[in-house]
Structure formats: C-alpha cells, structure tokens
C-alpha cells in the first residue's frame, strides 16, 4: 500500500536530506522548495548532520492505526544543530529520562508496519547523543 508515497520521501526519511537556500544560505527541513526565510526558490539538496536537541516532547498512550503495537511511545520536536525543527519519535531512552535540551542524534528504525504481510516503513528516530 502507498509504496510510491513512501518511496518518494526515502531520501528525507533515511538520510535527513533537506535543502539549502542559494540566496540566504538558510537550511530547510523538511524540503519545501520556497525558502521560509527569504521566500525565494530553494532546491539545492543539503544533508543534515542528524545532531540536535529536544525542544519539546510527549509520551502518547493512544496510538493511531498502524502504530498501536508500539504504544506508549515518546515523540519530540528536535531542534537540529543547523537550525530547523523536525518532528520524530525518540528511541533507546526511558521516557522518564527525557528532558528539554537533551542532546540527541538521528538513527534509522522501523516507523510502522501494515500488518504481518504488509510493508515495513523505515525512517528517522532520535536517541540520546
């Protein structure tokens, strides 16, 4: 299901590929083609380091369809060291140890699965650095 949809965002989800604005040099993630800082076209690929810190977080108990077996899990807004914010799950950490400001780094993990015979979707999560 939805193979093409996952395939076309592989670069972002596997490698944190965003963009760099050729005009103001601002770093952009997720990619959006118009620079949010200077409103000019920005399509130059840029690979983020995957380093950042927790800006906010929450552990959720009621998961949406496709994520039920992982609940409870912890999600966060991570402020990347290059500037942009990314929304992701935290992993390899006890929920009670997570703090705002905690340094984290990107890892690649299974995000969801569509049943026993369905597709596995991989992507970025963040763990303590």
């Amino acid at each position: 299901m939805e193979v093409a949809r996952f395939w076309r965002t592989n670069k972002q989800r596997y490698q944190l590929v965003g963009e760099e604005c050729p005009h103001c040099k601002g770093k952009i993630f997720p990619p959006r083609d118009i620079c949010p800082t200077c409103d000019k076209e920005a399509k130059v690929p840029y690979v983020f380091s995957g380093k950042g810190e927790v800006f906010s977080f929450s552990t959720l108990h009621q998961a949406p369809a496709g994520f039920e077996r992982y609940a409870p899990y912890t999600v966060a807004l991570v402020k990347l060291s290059e500037g942009p914010m990314v929304t992701a799950q935290l992993t390899d950490v006890d929920a009670s140890d997570v703090k705002i400001g905690m340094p984290v780094e990107m890892v690649t993990r299974v995000l969801r699965e569509d049943g026993e015979r369905g597709m596995l979707v991989y992507g970025y999560k963040f763990r303590p650095a």
Partner: protein, 384 residues
C-alpha cells in the same frame, strides 16, 4: 458588498448518536434553523465537515444533505478545513450573501465520529496534521498539542494544574446548556488526577470526540427583519492560515494564523479586543485556549493561563469564553464545532442564553481552528 445577518439557528444535542447517521444529524440541524428563520427553502447550502470520508465512508456530503433534506436541485457543497470546517462553511455563505450572489444561505456543520474505534478516530484526526512529516512519525492531534503545552510550561513556568480553570469553567457552563454532552461540574482535583493521554495532556485537557450538527441561516441585513425580530449582524468574517506542520512554525508558541485571522476581523469590524463581550474560542485542548487568548489580543504572550487563573474567562469576568460549555464540555464534533460556536454566540446576542447569559452582550467573537493552528476562521457578530 452587502451587510449580512443571521436570521436562524439550529443544533442537535452533542453526544454519541448511535441511532443517527451523518445525513440525519445534518438534516435535523438544518430543519431546526429553517424553522427558526420561518423559511422553506434556501438559495445555497454549504456543509462543513472534516471526517466523513475517513469515518463514515461518505463523501459528496453537500449533495447528500441537500437530497435528504428535500432541497431538490439546490446549490450544495461540502467545505473541508479540518476542525475549522464549520466556520469555513459559514465563511463561504458570507461571501455568497455579501457578494450578492445569493440571498438565503444555510451553513451546516456536521460530524459523525463515534461509529469508529479510537485508533481509527486518531488516524482521521491526524489527517489535519502534516501527513508526510507528522502523522508518518506516529504523531496524533493530542500529542502535537502536548508538544505545545510542554514547551509553554517550560518557557513560562506554569504547572499542569494551572490549566485547570479552562476545563472547570467549560464544565460549569455546560450544565445550563441542554445541547451539551457533559453537563456536570469537574473539580481542580479531578482535573489533576485525570488519565494521561499524552503527557502533559490528560483527559480533562482534551475535548471529547462526538457526533453533532449545527446550522445558521444567512440573509442580507436589509431583509433580515422580515424573518426575525432579533437578527444578528455579521460584522466580520476572516480566514488566515499558518504552516500545517508545527515544526515549520516561525515561533512555536505564537499562533500566527490565529493572530492574523483575528487582526483581519478586528480591522473589518472596526473594533478592538476590549470591545468584545464574549469570545467563543477553540478549546480543543486547554493549551489551545491559552494560545488563542494570546493570539487574539486578550492576553499578552505567556499570560493566557494567568487570565484563566485570575477568573477573567468566567461569566462576569473580563472576557467570558466557552460560555455554553465550549468544545471541552459541550463536546467537539470536529467539523461541526465552528457552527456550534456561532449558534451559541447568537444565543448570547439574542439574550437566549438562560442562566449563562452574558449581561448586555452586544459584540461576540468566535474563532475556529483547523489543525494545530493552520486554518483559522474568526467571526465577529453584533446584536442589532
């Protein structure tokens, strides 16, 4: 542009309507509003709805409600803007009447949510977030609001208990609303001990999933007095948008879309926040109430919770909010809620709010938000 008034209102009780379908709920609210306006037919029907596809396997809802209501052949469209769908439908109606394209327009908000399991509801609600970069990561509407609330508490030094007045006030007001879902008081202690959904958000921070429908009939103000003794004038109708993803916000704790939408509305009406007698805001979560009060100019940055703690949001306070129970206690049938807000504001301006009547209410403001601040519809209504 023509001046526009509301000449009729209708609503169903908000709740778990096991015995009623999407089309029935929509029709009941429409029929009640037509009766209130002493009108048999309208020139157009605009239906706000957010989740009929995901939760009822039904699209083409404009035609469906028109057909079920016996309005053969009428212009009818569905408008989707997540949790702001209903107010967006009213915005479209306003454009049609103000622009002189239609004289009588019915704006319905309808939502049928409780047929489905919680995980299916969560997935449907999460469609109002960024599908590729929020929902894909397993985020839900509740957890996105939790990220806002955690950061708000961190930056301004509030505790979770400080948010209690929003829920306590909403429940106290719902007791006197016969259309509300939860007509009972809650205590600050119950608020503090409620089941966590996505910390720091617990059950009493969050508005309940529900079924319901609400409707208003719009007409040119010049004709309004022929249909009602108490028309309510639409002084402003404004829409603004912000980034869908929270991670893309310029400033996480500033709802820019809500601020722009409110500023447009104030400018159109030629009034200031201090002129507003009551504010039906978007209290899907307690944190949304705080951020909305700040964005609309009723509280300074970081002071929305203070305003509630000081009792200023209650009936008789400086700016009463959720005067008939709000989304928290009247219930939150997502794509219908914006028109419940409008209907309740009209009740206040007609002097029909019973025990919850805001004394001498002349100007009411409503603000309906889709997603975590992405689509924001603000209306300012006036007693004539």
């Amino acid at each position: 542009m023509r001046d526009v008034s509301i000449i009729g209102i209708g609503q169903t009780i908000v709740g778990e309507h096991w015995d009623k379908s999407l089309r029935e709920l929509g029709y009941y609210a429409l029929a009640a509003a037509l009766k209130d306006a002493k009108l048999a037919r309208v020139d157009a029907l605009y239906v706000g709805n957010a989740h009929s596809g995901a939760l009822s396997n039904q699209e083409n809802v404009g035609a469906m409600i028109a057909d079920f209501a016996g309005l053969r052949g009428v212009e009818a469209l569905k408008i989707e803007a997540a949790g702001a769908s209903a107010a967006a439908a009213m915005r479209l109606g306003y454009i049609a009447v103000a622009g002189g394209l239609c004289d009588f327009v019915a704006c319905v908000g309808v939502e049928k949510m409780t047929d489905q399991q919680p995980s299916t509801q969560e997935s449907a609600l999460a469609m109002s977030a960024d599908g590729d970069y929020e929902a894909m990561q397993g985020l839900t509407t509740v957890s996105l609001n939790a990220l806002l609330m955690r950061r708000y508490m961190h930056e301004y030094g509030y505790t979770k208990a400080d948010f209690a007045p929003f829920a306590v006030n909403a429940h106290a007001n719902a007791i006197n609303n016969p259309f509300a879902m939860y007509r009972m008081n809650i205590s600050p202690k119950q608020f503090a001990e409620a089941k966590p959904l996505a910390d720091p958000i617990s059950m009493f921070d969050s508005s309940p999933v529900a079924d319901g429908a609400a409707c208003v009939i719009l007409a040119p103000s010049a004709l309004a007095k022929e249909f009602t003794d108490r028309p309510v004038r639409v002084r402003a109708s404004a829409v603004a948008t912000d980034t869908v993803g929270l991670h893309d916000r310029r400033d996480l704790l500033s709802l820019d879309g809500a601020a722009w939408s409110a500023q447009k509305a104030f400018a159109a009406a030629g009034v200031n926040p201090s002129d507003i007698d009551l504010f039906e805001l978007h209290d899907g979560f307690t944190i949304m109430s705080a951020l909305s009060l700040e964005a609309a100019g009723f509280a300074a940055r970081g002071k929305g919770v203070d305003l509630a703690l000081n009792g200023e949001i209650r009936l008789g306070g400086r700016i009463p909010i959720t005067t008939m129970g709000g989304m928290k206690a009247r219930g939150n049938p997502a794509g219908a809620s914006g028109l419940y807000q409008i209907v309740e504001a009209v009740q206040q301006l007609r002097g029909e709010a019973g025990a919850n009547q805001v004394a001498n209410a002349r100007l009411a403001m409503t603000q309906n938000i889709g997603g975590s601040g992405a689509t924001v519809v603000t209306s300012i209504l006036e007693r004539i």
